[in-house]
């Protein structure tokens, strides 16, 4: 790891995480075989793996949706491996912003109310919630559609609302599970741009899980997950950039400037 990382706060520290299912039955299955992983403040990490590699299980571990069978999980240096369900709910509420492949917006509920939802569980007063939700929707370019329900929005728009929702409680980490998996390439671009914007302009920490190697290249750090083990880490470009293959030193991405502009991105801009 580079020296820059050591100056930044360690947000997530996974140590030899093992996850087994159906323990004690003949169907016992070990999905994660001792995964270790560190995420630092401001990281843009991508975990790439084929289907069946244990991606989802790892994401559930990182997202504190599940307890590990073995191993240690420190968040901001605090051990959360043994936390109770309600404690985990509180940590998820405050520290993690989820973005799902299927958006998972609450049906028949406006974009604004959807973004308010995590703040509701955090006990934020109504007025403040309203205001912040409106600001976040403006940030993702959805200010015109705050009162639309999910069924009145396109997939890309729904995902933008979901990203705004992930930001609601100003989390330490945005955890995105195949965020563009259900979108066409153009809308995917818009959503990816949004992640870059959050990362570049606000210094947000992002962990993205995907099966797409192309998308993974846009992250700074790429972890490869094969059969429940992290088999390697390499640096991504941390930028949208073509042709592929060119690697750069981590966190020097801001030097790239206009070179980052690809034809694809330009097209997407026009669409907007």
């Amino acid at each position: 790891m580079g020296s820059l990382q050591q100056e930044r706060e360690n947000i997530i520290h996974l140590e030899n995480i093992v996850k087994r299912f159906n323990i004690g039955t003949e169907n016992e299955l070990e999905v994660l075989h001792g995964v270790s992983l560190d995420v630092y403040e401001g990281d843009f990490v991508c975990i790439v793996g084929e289907s069946g590699s244990g991606k989802s299980t790892l994401m559930n571990q990182i997202g504190l949706l599940d307890h590990p069978t073995e191993g240690k999980y420190l968040m901001h240096g605090v051990d959360v491996s043994e936390a109770t369900e309600d404690q985990l709910a509180e940590i998820r509420n405050q520290e993690i912003g989820f973005v799902f492949q299927t958006y998972n917006l609450i049906p028949r509920t406006t974009a604004l109310e959807n973004v308010e939802m995590p703040m509701l569980y955090a006990g934020v007063p109504r007025e403040e919630r309203r205001e912040r939700a409106a600001d976040l929707l403006t940030m993702v370019g959805m200010e015109e559609r705050m009162d639309h329900t999910p069924s009145e929005l396109s997939g890309g728009q729904q995902q933008r609302v979901a990203i705004a929702r992930a930001m609601a409680n100003d989390p330490s980490l945005i955890l995105a599970d195949e965020p563009t998996g259900a979108l066409d390439s153009q809308t995917s671009r818009v959503v990816m741009d949004l992640f870059h914007k959050l990362h570049d302009e606000q210094g947000r920490t992002i962990v993205m899980i995907t099966h797409s190697a192309t998308l993974a290249e846009e992250a700074e750090r790429i972890l490869t997950l094969v059969d429940g083990r992290i088999t390697g880490e390499r640096a991504g470009r941390g930028q949208i950039y073509r042709p592929a293959g060119e690697t750069r030193e981590l966190h020097a991405r801001r030097d790239f400037g206009d070179l980052a502009f690809t034809e694809e991105k330009a097209e997407a801009e026009e669409q907007r």
Binding site: N60, L65, D66, A89, R92, N93, F98, N104, M117
Partner: protein, 430 residues
Amino acid sequence: MFLENIRLALHSLGANKLRTFLTMLGIMIGVGAVVAIETIGAGQTKQMEEQFAGNGVNNIQIYMWSENYDEDAPQLSFTQDMMKKFVNKFGDHIEAIEMDAYGNSGKAYLDAAKQDETYANFYQQGVNNGAFTVENVKLKEGRTFTGDELNNASNAAVVSDKFVDNMWGGDYAGAIGRSFTADFGNDQTASYTVVGVYTYQIDAQSLRSMDQKDIKSMSTPMFVPYKNVTQSPYLDLSGYPDGYDPFAITYFTLQAKQGEDVVQLATSMQDYMQSMFSADQNVTVESFSNKQMVDEVKASMQQQTTTISLIAAIALLVGGIGVMNIMTVTITERTREIGTRKAMGAKRRAIRQQFIIEAVVMCVIGGMIGTIGGLIGGIIGCRLMHYSIAVPMDSIALAIAVSLAIGIFFGYYPANRAAKMDPIEALRYE
């Protein structure tokens, strides 16, 4: 959070209006039926209370009968001597004792030739002045009887205002001192002079079922001095054994003074009068008070209410199961939503509260609609049965409270199931 959940509940119930309505129907029918029946019951009670309000709850009736009744044996009754002793003993507790002897019924008119136009029907009642107090007869004009009239069995009459309406066109003051012919049938007529006019109290229920013609031909009591009946020259005792007194006292009514324990007093009076008869006379004395009757009617209504409540409880149970069923379906349908909420930091309590409130809101709205429907139905029922109309506020409050309880009770299980869902499986649910 609580208010948010209510808003959320209204929102999601509104999203599925038909289903919500059908689910509410069970609660609506259950609550509606109870409120309707309670409204009718309250009307009935109010009616009864109105009737007794005029009839004094302080009244006590003492009556007797003999087991070994024999036509030839001397007649058994409360003798003058017994009555004197009774008054000596209980006089301090008594406001008035009523003496009454039923005379004949008949038709009164002024002019025999025009008796088809100007007439009034009556039934003759020989009374003492105590009867006016006990029966709560209110004089509009004139007076009750003088001592002379009572002693001399005079042909003096206290007639009803209805009687005066028919005879003298409602001139109550002018009727005092006037005479009329009382025709008892069989060519038996006598002339009576009006000394007083009383207000005839007709209960609201009877009045509602009568038309103008009925009111005109209605027969009302004509009070005359007690002896005027018992010593009537027209008294025909030919069918009775020798020495039989048709006016022997086998029962009498009295009014206890205000503040007396009526039920207790009635028992003492009963025991005292019983002690006047020897065992071999085989006489039973009993007492009866209006207070007792009111208590009994109230008790029987209470019983009725309990029975109805049981039936209603079954209806509400069925309704409640309907709510539980639909909540279970709702929760299954919204599994992903629950998973998402949990991922976003909703604790078990928050999820549980959300769905319990949804069930409660559904039940309470159903209960309110049921209450309104039941009230309307009950009032229509009261109208049809000529009851007074009373709104049973306590039953309404209870109905709403029960709806709330049903919501909590039947909402708890599905809500708890939602609260305990594993967020990972819930998120993955298709």
